[in-house]
Symmetry: C3
Subunit: 325 residues, 3 copies
């Protein structure tokens, strides 16, 4: 298969495959082909964001090689996805516009730092057989945004708006826009808010595992429902930002860390709701200082689900053996 | 005894006993009779709050049964007390008034979620033989209040006032009201601020263990003293809110997790002071975003005491054997 | 040697040596002579601060003896440095002026509490062979400042100014002042901003280990560089506050927890940058509620470095064997 084939090839080709795996890992898939499709979707949505994502995944994978991280982990793309997310989010929050080349400095440094955090957190969480997941990304992006602040002369950024903020004027909720927000929620995992690329990303997930694709859409729908029940800002629903934590929380339980069964499915729905409501809560909290909650909610919820005793535990797959369902 | 007797009885009766144990567990007791007396006190203080508490303890205990938690834990009431606290505090902070039936939706969901957190945190903390205690409650109530915000159209709530907030006009401190706040601090563990029910709750503690009752009053007095030394708002002293973290911190060390001795007693006083001052600090911090500090301070302090090495460690009772002194 | 010699001497002399070790431990040295030089520097900078530091280190060391902490730890000064830092920072932030004797109450209580936290956190972190380091100090000073608030009638204090705050008017950056900030960064580890005492403190470090001294200056320079790249307030650069987290992060990796090599040296530089940027981020965050970030950044970064797998791990010295390089 592919892994064997590339073993004899040049380092550049190997790095490309590791990188593409890293791209797919963001959405809990582990397949270079899905990674390639997703990367294409990102370039389609915005060439600048596509470039940032590419550089992020390469920078962090190379850092992992340089500081001597486990080579099996590197080859599995485990050191790429946090770097990619850091880069994408730095690009999205930057208010300096596209093609602002100075942004590459924090992109490189942030992506490289994600490897340090991934390695350290893995040691810490290994005690409970928990993955470091996207904790490194979430920590770094929050620190970066805090570090620069909104009025930084070199790296200005837009503050995040909490979902609970009051609407400027009372407008009607448009149902079709809300429904359109559900697939956008899948795209928001890669910080893209365009419909075409989002659907392409969803396609890449289905390519990897149709079960995962169903959980992604379902989770996003649950997140949107949670958003409606808390009367969040309309923009939050329309853009898919209400949905993406639900999608991640649902996929992690329903398709990744546990073997599928009807029981697991119910836990996946519960995980989606918990992720979505926690996201609203954390977004409101961090929003008071202009920070986004990123995927803190889904990451914490998935970690909680992995710690659960009782009937869910019987279905748990040890972290070392987690792969395609 | 009772446990044997109910084993052959119907599930409803069993559930009632488990629930009453859960009610008593809130104040670190483990006795269905104390639970019944406390529940009566809550219905006396406010029938709506009594109902919410009852539903909370039942919802979380049933959730624990459904998701397959350890049956000995369920029977011991370990899955009831966090759900009860979540429900009581949702009721207290709600600004929609009593008998607002929609509140039952978050009450059920929050109580059910407390079981997930209890199970996950138990796995996490088991490493150091630490209990999950009321961490689940403290997490859920903060997330709930953050999620809804103060101007939510469905679930509005009152913001918490930090104890360090300035008094509107300089009024004299009334000594008798301050002293009255000491027994109220015991009642505030169940979020009730009425004198009669507070004394009844104290009676229920004495019924379980007189030593525990003494520590409760002493801890509340220590908390009040700490509040005076930091010149907190008068209302905070009068209502007993200054005292309840001290009471919990004092009881946990003096009567629950350690065998009693004069040394333990001094550590219990230290724990009460530490809980009380930490509570003022955390209340001031969380109060900047309108959140209450609940029992974070006492829970963190008790956890710290359980981790202590040195002379206190010799008196520590392993978590599995903690029961009536 | 000294340790053997004092074993037969009076308790007061022993306590003095333990205390001086504790004074040196603040800057990661472990040598009573360095401690004596540093203490002299503090009395030179401000007799009141010197007194507070002395009382702090004595109070916490005595508390450790009283609550029965491990005597080897006490003799190594491990229970002194957190208490000293708590006292120094209470003095620096107090707005009641020097020789405000009431301040001794929180100084004693805070220093004593640091022993509780040190003991508890050591148990918690021992799992990963991590030190409690200055986490106790960082926790206590934040709680103390939150507890009293800025307008407390008994213990008023100055709010901390975040480094990202806008300058009142656009002034030019003075290069010589920035360079002067580098040695001041070493002094700021003991919360002193005067040049002479800072140089004396640096001398005390060189006395203990010249390698450590180099890392201290280098780390402070890295921190200043990081501050410049983020356009922090000029005052933050001039006072050395931008540098001290970098210095601590650099020293911990380059001279304390890892054997020295060129690889370790590069990791020490990385640690300095990470500490410095995290400090700007955390200072901006905590500054929104008027709190300082103290040495949270360096402590967290050093902890992360200790958890790292890969090539750095090979150089790691087990915590029990950490001593002079």
């Amino acid at each position: 298969n592919l892994d064997k084939y590339i073993k004899d090839k040049s380092f550049v080709l190997q790095l490309a495959v590791w990188g593409l795996r890293g791209v797919a890992r963001v959405i809990l898939a582990n397949n270079p082909l899905s990674g390639a499709v997703i990367l294409a979707a990102l370039y389609w949505a915005s060439p600048w964001q596509g470039l940032l994502g590419t550089l992020g995944v390469l920078a962090s994978t190379l850092t992992a090689v340089i500081i001597g991280q486990d080579s099996a982990e590197v080859a599995g793309g485990l050191h790429g996805f946090n770097g990619m997310l850091v880069s994408l989010l730095m690009g999205v929050f930057s208010s300096a516009g596209d093609w602002y080349w100075w942004l590459l400095v924090p992109v490189f440094l942030g992506s490289a730092t994600s490897v340090f955090l991934f390695s350290g957190l893995t040691t810490l969480l290994d005690n409970w057989d928990l993955p470091a997941a996207v904790f490194p990304f979430n920590i770094i992006i929050v620190l970066y945004l805090l570090c620069t602040g909104t009025n930084n002369p070199y790296f200005p950024h837009n503050p995040a708006m909490p979902p609970g903020a009051l609407e400027p004027n009372n407008t009607e909720l448009i149902a079709v826009e809300v429904i359109r927000g559900i697939p956008l929620g899948v795209g928001q995992i890669y910080a893209t808010g365009a419909l075409g690329p989002s659907l392409l990303i969803l396609g890449a997930v289905v390519l990897y595992s149709p079960l995962m694709g169903i959980h992604a859409v379902l989770g996003s729908a649950v997140g949107t429902l949670a958003g409606l029940s808390m009367a969040v800002r309309h923009e939050s629903l329309y853009s898919g930002l209400s949905g993406f934590n639900g999608a991640l929380g649902c996929m992690a339980v329903g398709g990744l860390f546990f073997t599928f069964s009807w029981r697991t499915f119910l836990f996946a729905i519960a995980s989606a709701f918990l992720s979505a409501y926690s996201d609203i809560a954390l977004s409101n909290l961090l929003g008071t200082v202009g920070l986004p909650a990123c995927s803190w909610a889904a990451t914490l919820t998935a970690t909680l689900m992995l710690l659960l005793t009782g009937s869910l535990k019987e279905y748990r797959i040890p972290i070392g053996q987690v792969k395609a369902p």
